[in-house]
Point group: C2
Chain length 227, copies 2
Amino acid sequence: MVSKEFIKSLNDKYNIKFNNLELLEEAFTHSSYANEHPEGARDYEKLEFLGDAVLELAISDYLYRHFPNLNEGELTRMRSNIVRTEGFSEFAIECGFQNEINLGKGEEKAGARHRKTLLEDVFEAFNGALFLDQGMKKVQYFLHMTVYPLIDQGEFDDSRDYKTDLQELLQKDGPVDIEYVTVSESQLPSHFVVELHINGEVKSKGEGHNKKAAEQQAAKNALAELE
Amino acid sequence: MVSKEFIKSLNDKYNIKFNNLELLEEAFTHSSYANEHPEGARDYEKLEFLGDAVLELAISDYLYRHFPNLNEGELTRMRSNIVRTEGFSEFAIECGFQNEINLGKGEEKAGARHRKTLLEDVFEAFNGALFLDQGMKKVQYFLHMTVYPLIDQGEFDDSRDYKTDLQELLQKDGPVDIEYVTVSESQLPSHFVVELHINGEVKSKGEGHNKKAAEQQAAKNALAELE
């Protein structure tokens, strides 16, 4: 059962209050739990089916309106980076979904609660439930506090490789020593901080949900100064 | 340019009146035309990007609500039959889109106006434009007059193979001669009528947008009588 603390935190953090709490419960119920409780528990798979399409449209709409200068190919690539990455699992953790999942005993033992694909599914199912309960506007409101800020930060934009660009710029007059040093690293939610050292001196910092993203950001920051 | 007759027919047939006619124009402009008119024509590709997601959600939502007894796998298969078939091109033709497409001269000569993939793209772009102009409710209203009736008729439901079921039922006591005869066939929009002959006698009829669908329907009709 979804905890009272979680219901309160959804309200406090995201201003979300479900009218139909059964939908919320369903979004957090894995099939292994439903199989052990045949008297009524419904698993999240149908909500995931719907939530997948809800996220696809919400994100497409956001990209279409906020990146008017990108062409169709660039928009499609960014959308696919967002919906096909493991990113959704990190949002699920950030939103506190992980502890609320109803799992069967076997799957619990097998560590399913920490499985990225399962966390992604739950994130989709939650958005499907929110869409049914309160419509697209509320889904977009929720995404404005979770997914969209990372889009704005360029986390899913692979159209430019800042590390390569920086390297080319720095080394055009001869060899330069470039090193990315991870100075902080945490999980759940995963967060990395790296420093960019040029010839042994700290040039810039970067943060991100994985090492690659943090390094790209450090390179981007350095380029902003140099270009 | 989109014709006045078409704008009138959208209003008469579907009760659709665009606030922003530039969006409608964009939805019908192929890149080959835009390339020949660099002074301002925008091609439909970005609207197609958006329309793809609009249709995915509209259809997912419809399936979720109208087929409560299907499981997630069946819903997913049906959704994919609808959005991945050439069906959209036939809807485009039925809605009179074909004559309105702005094409470059070379593509016109090459017969692009009759290319199924191009017609599908235009159908997606039109729904993207309608979504931007008037929101999801209007898109669903439009689909209620075009796509949803065919869903209700089972055109995209491949969960049961009626031809095989009929054959097994008829031949359980020995060989029976089963033949499907196409009695009418038209293109643009494509429409097939077949008769099912059992031991040389007409047993049932079926209609559909292709031969396979028409045969399935004939078998389904025969089964309804026999079972």
